[in-house]
């Protein structure tokens, strides 16, 4: 008899094959292609990568666990500032370390994890009190917490306050950033397809029933929140070391909205949908920039909102709904395995 997750029964190293292949391709592109790309176009690719991490990580909270969080930019800023503060301080104390770029990249990985953990910790602090609330109330509270984090940073003078934090060393390379994109998607994909992820889905579907089936819903929600915050922190750190300048204003609620739009547009509960939407929205923002220069009106937000209205009218579940891209491939391997989720 064929088992339901039969194509999923590969384990250990064998199951990692495609992911490792993706990493190899990224590093090949890093060494052979990245330098050839036009710098403007290159920056769009980099921002797209950062947005992918943000959108995919927010999807764990908003899409898979059904907890509408609006403070993702707050966690991003925590990660960004922790890492930027660490590297700028180090650069002034041990400038000779920074001469060795390979050593520094290795060290930067450690800093990224640290930034993620810092953001995750803030995630616990924010999540424990606010996740008792549901729906609109949770959205308002997380929005508030996001702003609190921003104002808090605004008032710390050692990290620049309103002036911002300049001269951050440029440590986010193409290879490193996209490796994290792959790591993020990998971790979250595996997580939502495991027992932990089933808890998230249960909470989203019916909290009372989930609790009655033995799911510790508070813990599951906080867990999802922390995972989301961790990767948001990493994205913030990568962002800081690419732009090389941080300003609290960058992380206001507009930034959170942008990420939410990506998740909603791609489909709540679809990782590949988030990836597509992140790339699409990053690209369209740049495309609209020329239009803005021409007319001197910021069309971006108008088009964003129009797009969302149109989408809600035609595809209320987002572009992909809860499906993944792979579900659309006829005779794809996922067809046989059938996920836990509905494909309306």
């Amino acid at each position: 008899m064929k088992l339901l997750f039969s194509s999923n029964s590969r384990h250990g190293i064998a199951s990692l094959r495609n992911w490792i292949l993706a990493l190899v391709l990224i590093w090949m592109a890093h060494f052979f292609v990245a330098d050839e790309i036009d710098p403007y176009f290159f920056s769009i690719i980099m921002y797209a990568g950062i947005n992918i991490i943000l959108a995919v990580s927010l999807n764990v909270v908003n899409g898979f666990s059904g907890q509408f969080s609006m403070g993702h930019a707050g966690f991003m800023s925590v990660g960004g500032y922790i890492s930027a503060f660490a590297t700028t301080q180090l650069e002034t104390i041990y400038p000779e370390w920074f001469a060795h770029s390979f050593l520094m990249s290795l060290f930067f990985i450690f800093i990224l994890v640290l930034a993620g953990l810092g953001a995750g910790f803030v995630g616990i602090l924010v999540g424990l009190p606010s996740l008792r609330l549901k729906g609109d109330y949770l959205a308002i509270v997380t929005l508030g917490f996001g702003e609190i984090i921003r104002v808090f940073i605004l008032n710390i003078d050692t990290i620049g306050g309103a002036r911002g934090l300049p001269n951050i060393p440029a440590l986010s390379s193409f290879g490193l950033l996209y490796s994290w994109v792959v790591i993020t998607i990998f971790c979250i994909w595996r997580l939502v397809n495991s027992a932990q992820g089933r808890d998230f889905l249960a909470v989203r579907e019916d909290e009372i029933a989930a609790e009655a089936m033995g799911v510790n819903t508070t813990q599951a929600k906080v867990r999802a929140f922390v995972v989301g915050a961790f990767f948001a922190g990493v994205a913030g750190a990568l962002f800081a070391h690419y732009l090389r300048y941080l300003n609290p204003q960058t992380f206001d609620f507009n930034r959170s909205f942008e990420i939410i739009i990506m998740v909603v547009l791609g489909g709540m509960g679809s990782l590949t949908g988030s990836v597509l939407a992140a790339v699409f929205l990053t690209a369209i923002r740049e495309a609209l920039r020329s239009l803005q220069e021409l007319t001197r009106i910021d069309f971006r937000m108008i088009i964003y909102s129009l797009m969302l209205i149109l989408l809600m009218l035609t595809r209320p579940n987002g572009l992909l709904g809860t499906r993944e891209l792979i579900d659309f491939i006829p005779n794809g391997s996922r067809k046989k395995k059938k996920s836990l989720e509905s494909h309306p």
């Binding site: 495991s194 889905l201 579907e205």
Partner: protein, 270 residues
């Protein structure tokens, strides 16, 4: 059965003492006493608004009683959260079906079985790396789920989305899901509501089957008297939050207070 002499086996499955809950000035349930022995099918009946579901909600931790004691398999349930109570071996179904609507039948079962007391728990790293024990455990868990689904003849519908199932199947899936938590005491809140006579008959058969084959204890609320009188070995009747009668089906049927609660008092001339 030799296991009857075990220490834990001598305990009642469920013991409720002086359970009371008040909403404002209204005593929804007052001084309820129940004793459900292991392996029994126990019925809780009463007119609408008698406090049956409120009693269930206290037993499963949704409401916290104002006073009274609840013990299941020797463990105190008062003050525990619903998920803890489930882990003590008490699981429930809902009056208005509460399945994970957008997940498959098997998905519903897997979630419940994740919290089976004997289920191995894997922390984040094995899940990320899909280690061999984790994957094997997943496959085994799925087999166990299918076995349970087979009792309710739902194994052929494992990949269907729960909300697309016919009503009777949804009710049965809810019972199967409650069993998947590893519970030994099932609280069924109107399991036959909305079922036709045939489906009810099938359900009665299934309830007896799970009691006999899986040593379940069952406490059920039901309005369908055919089901209650047909399978319950003991019945308690609630009216306005007070237990007015307890006994076998024939005792209940002839109890004047029960008849009064359901049909009203015969007016007497003063």
């Amino acid at each position: 059965m030799t296991t009857l002499h075990n220490e834990t086996d001598s305990l009642e499955a469920l013991e409720v003492k002086n359970l009371t809950i008040q909403f404002g000035g209204l005593k929804a349930v007052s001084d309820l006493n129940l004793q459900v022995s292991k392996g029994m099918i126990f019925g809780l009946i009463g007119p609408n608004g008698a406090g049956k579901t409120t009693a269930f909600n206290m037993l499963t931790g949704v409401y916290r009683p104002n006073s009274g004691k609840i013990q299941a398999f020797g463990k105190n349930l008062v003050g525990c959260r619903p998920f803890q109570i489930t882990q003590f071996g008490v699981a429930r179904t809902f009056q208005n079906i509460r399945l994970f609507k957008n997940l498959t039948v098997l998905g519903n079962m897997m979630i419940a079985m994740d919290h089976h007391p004997e289920q191995k728990h894997f922390w984040v790293l094995p899940s990320l790396l899909r280690t061999r024990p984790m994957v094997e455990n997943e496959i085994q868990q799925e087999k166990n789920c299918l076995e349970l689904l087979k009792i309710f003849k739902l194994d052929t519908r494992k990949s269907e989305i729960a909300k697309n199932l016919p009503y009777g199947d949804q009710r049965r899936l809810e019972i199967a899901r409650a069993m998947a938590t590893g519970a030994k005491l099932l609280l069924l809140d109107e399991p036959a509501a909305g079922m036709n006579a045939n489906e009810t008959k099938l359900l009665m058969h299934s309830i007896r089957l799970i009691r006999d084959e899986y040593q379940m204890t069952i406490l059920l609320i039901e309005h369908d008297m055919k089901l209650v009188m047909g399978i319950c070995e003991k019945i308690a009747v609630l009216d306005y939050g007070v237990k007015i009668a307890e006994g076998t089906s024939s005792e209940i049927q002839n109890n004047p207070r029960v008849i009064e609660a359901y049909l009203g008092k015969v007016p007497t001339d003063e």
